[in-house]
């Protein structure tokens, strides 16, 4: 019995082929002739030896060179690595598909080899392991080992001479006794596996439903995960098939995850006249962070480690935001504070002219810590409202003081 998957594959190909050939009206005799040809062509005994001949026109790889440059011709790389919980995204740590490149007219052979048979194993897998099942399936006049070798030549890349390309990035990496030269390739199977997972997050029915439930404030059992700041990259332009099969299947695009630090807005602002805390800080910019902090102050177990860590986290977030203003002011040409009415310690803190002094002295920094702690207390009260704010008593203001003393370098 021919496996249903193979059966279905052959009849499907036959139907497609016939549709093409019978498009233009033909005489009945001609039509019969074409149908006879089709029956022959897509009989396993004929199709298989032909496929075995064509398999060598394709190469199955894990790391195609053409993602680096369409003109890069490298020898085929079929990588395999052990799975380890080492914290690296790499070959071996994700189950990914092979990619294929070569003569587009032979791609049907790759499709055939990828068919899962009734036991779930692909034709290719069976061939590689030389199983009794595949021998029985390929019971045709042509010698089995010839067929097998022909078909497996799709993976014969490893046997050819190793060839990199001047169009591939080649990197020297220092090792004990010199260097290794690394030709850096793209694991397209992994790259498109990432795309698949991201598309599930973005477009799956479950995610769509959960998003709509959130909009309507309805409960959803699983919820959903949102990924921001995606970039799309294209390979092969209007001809993604020129790069590889997986690239073509993915419409020639993949996703890139953002790997960026937070932005610092350091553009010089206006010089100020009397007091930094009154003139340069706008409470509404800090409202959300103070509210988050307030929640933690309200917690009944203030010494719980999570509460403490959360509290420290929000205080430092606020202080970093304050410092962004300070750093921006320091971008002004030095000397501006001389004619201002700023308290002396603020002049040291803010004016670029005093950079040396800030670096070598510490007294002014102690004063600034006191000033910032005091501003934190006032701003907190204003941000959450005098009524709601818990009085900034000893434990809370001590938390401010201690944390800033420990992280005093941020204020320098």
């Amino acid at each position: 019995m021919l496996d249903p998957a193979i059966q279905a594959y052959l009849s499907e190909r036959k139907v497609t082929w016939l549709k093409e050939k019978l498009k233009i009206s033909k005489t009945e005799a001609e039509q019969q002739d074409i149908e006879r040809t089709a029956a022959d062509k897509f009989d396993l005994a004929n199709w298989l030896p032909d496929a075995a001949k064509r398999a060598g026109q394709l190469a199955m790889v894990t790391h195609p060179g053409k993602f680096s440059h369409p003109g890069a011709k490298t020898s085929s790389v079929i990588a395999d690595a052990e799975r380890k919980a080492d914290g690296y995204l790499r070959t071996g740590n994700v189950a990914a598909e092979f990619d294929v490149f070569g003569n587009a007219a032979a791609l049907d052979v790759h499709k055939f080899l990828s068919l899962p048979l009734s036991d779930g194993q692909t034709v290719l897998g069976h061939l590689e392991q030389d199983t009794p099942l595949i021998r029985q399936q390929f019971n045709i006049p042509t010698a089995f080992q010839d067929l097998r070798q022909g078909l497996l030549s799709i993976k014969s890349g490893a046997a050819e001479t190793v060839k990199t390309s001047e169009k591939i990035k080649q990197v020297y990496f220092p090792v004990d006794d010199g260097y290794h030269l690394l030709s850096v390739l793209t694991p397209s199977g992994l790259m498109f596996k990432l795309k698949e997972r991201i598309n599930v997050l973005r477009f799956s029915e479950a995610a769509k439903q959960a998003r709509s439930d959130r909009r309507n404030q309805i409960h959803h059992e699983q919820g959903f995960d949102e990924l921001y700041n995606l970039t799309v990259i294209g390979f092969g332009g209007t001809k993604p098939q020129n790069i590889s099969v997986l690239n073509n299947q993915n419409g020639g695009t993949a996703y890139l995850l953002a790997s960026l630090p937070p932005t610092l807005e350091l553009r010089a602002t206006q010089a100020l006249k009397t007091n930094f805390f009154l003139q340069s800080l706008y409470l509404k910019d800090y409202q959300d962070k103070f509210k988050a902090l307030h929640k933690l102050f309200l917690d009944t177990v203030p010494n719980n480690i999570d509460v403490r860590e959360g509290r420290d986290y929000w205080i430092l977030q606020i202080v970093e935001q304050v410092m962004e203003k300070v750093w921006a002011i320091r971008e002004l040409p030095g000397g501006w504070s001389e004619t201002s009415a700023l308290p002396p310690v603020q002049k040291i803190w803010l004016d670029a002219a005093n950079a040396q002094r800030r670096d070598s002295e510490d007294d002014w920094l102690d004063e600034i810590i006191v000033a910032v702690v005091s501003w934190l207390g006032i701003a907190y009260k204003k941000a959450v409202g005098e009524q709601k704010a818990i009085p900034i008593g000893d434990p809370e203001s001590r938390a401010f003081r201690q944390l800033l003393a420990e992280h005093r370098e941020v204020l320098r």
Binding site: L89, P187, G223, T231, L260, H407
Partner: protein, 292 residues
Amino acid sequence: MNRFLIVPRLKVHNANALSSPYTIGFPAMTAWLGGVHALQRKLNAASFTELRFSACAVSCHQIDLQTYQGRGDYVQSIVGTGNPLDKTGERPSFIEEARCHLNVTLAIEYQGVGMGDTDAFLAAVRHHLTTMKLAGGDILSFGNPELLKIDGDIEFGKLTRKLMPGYVLLERRELMAEAMREGQDAIDAMLDYLTVHHRSQIDADGQVMWSAERKTKGWLVPIATGFHGVGELGLAEQQRDPHTPHRFAESLVTLGEFVMPYRLKRLDDLLWRGRYDADNNFYLIEQHPRNA
């Protein structure tokens, strides 16, 4: 004593932002350490034969990534430049390139410069930097390089203040490793830390409450920190030089956290070093392992 060369406010134009096949943004750690190593080689050739650059930190003051987002687009696209035409005058099928402009301060740990040579050393650094590329980009300008000697972690603050205000990378591979030990594969382990998790609960009054949280606090990003050898060591046709052992490799990507340097307390949390791990075919730029 730890000795550092500080190169402040280094402006790099058109650096390579395609740090791996899965990430875009801050150039890969391999690119920074590679640049530092290239500088060492130039200085070695120019009479500082004993000089070694053993570790490095990069503080990012500003980064300007060249992508665009159309109005209403969910995703950004890369602002590409045309590749050169091929021999027949045709435009080759297009591989997009991603670039960024940066302003960074480098802190490079060094050994092997005599006390009396420091002025000549700094002059040589200034001279060679102007002729170099860094992370694939052009060096436009930099502040006056200086040398700093600190007594390990005790005087660590003296070093971090040179790097402010900016963000440095802290390796957070241990987060991903832990998730993988619990059974997630590398992609799921990574995405779980990068996504915002929207979940709903029904409270005692039957009210539905939606919350949005990340798996953990901190500015976590995927970063490229090395290469994984995926072919045998040997010689290949068309390799850049015929004498160095060659192999095919892929990027190694893991999690990192951008933090302001003042938050760190130890040199080990700041500095990145290169290492070849022959057992796993890893070419790593890494930090001292924490809880891993």
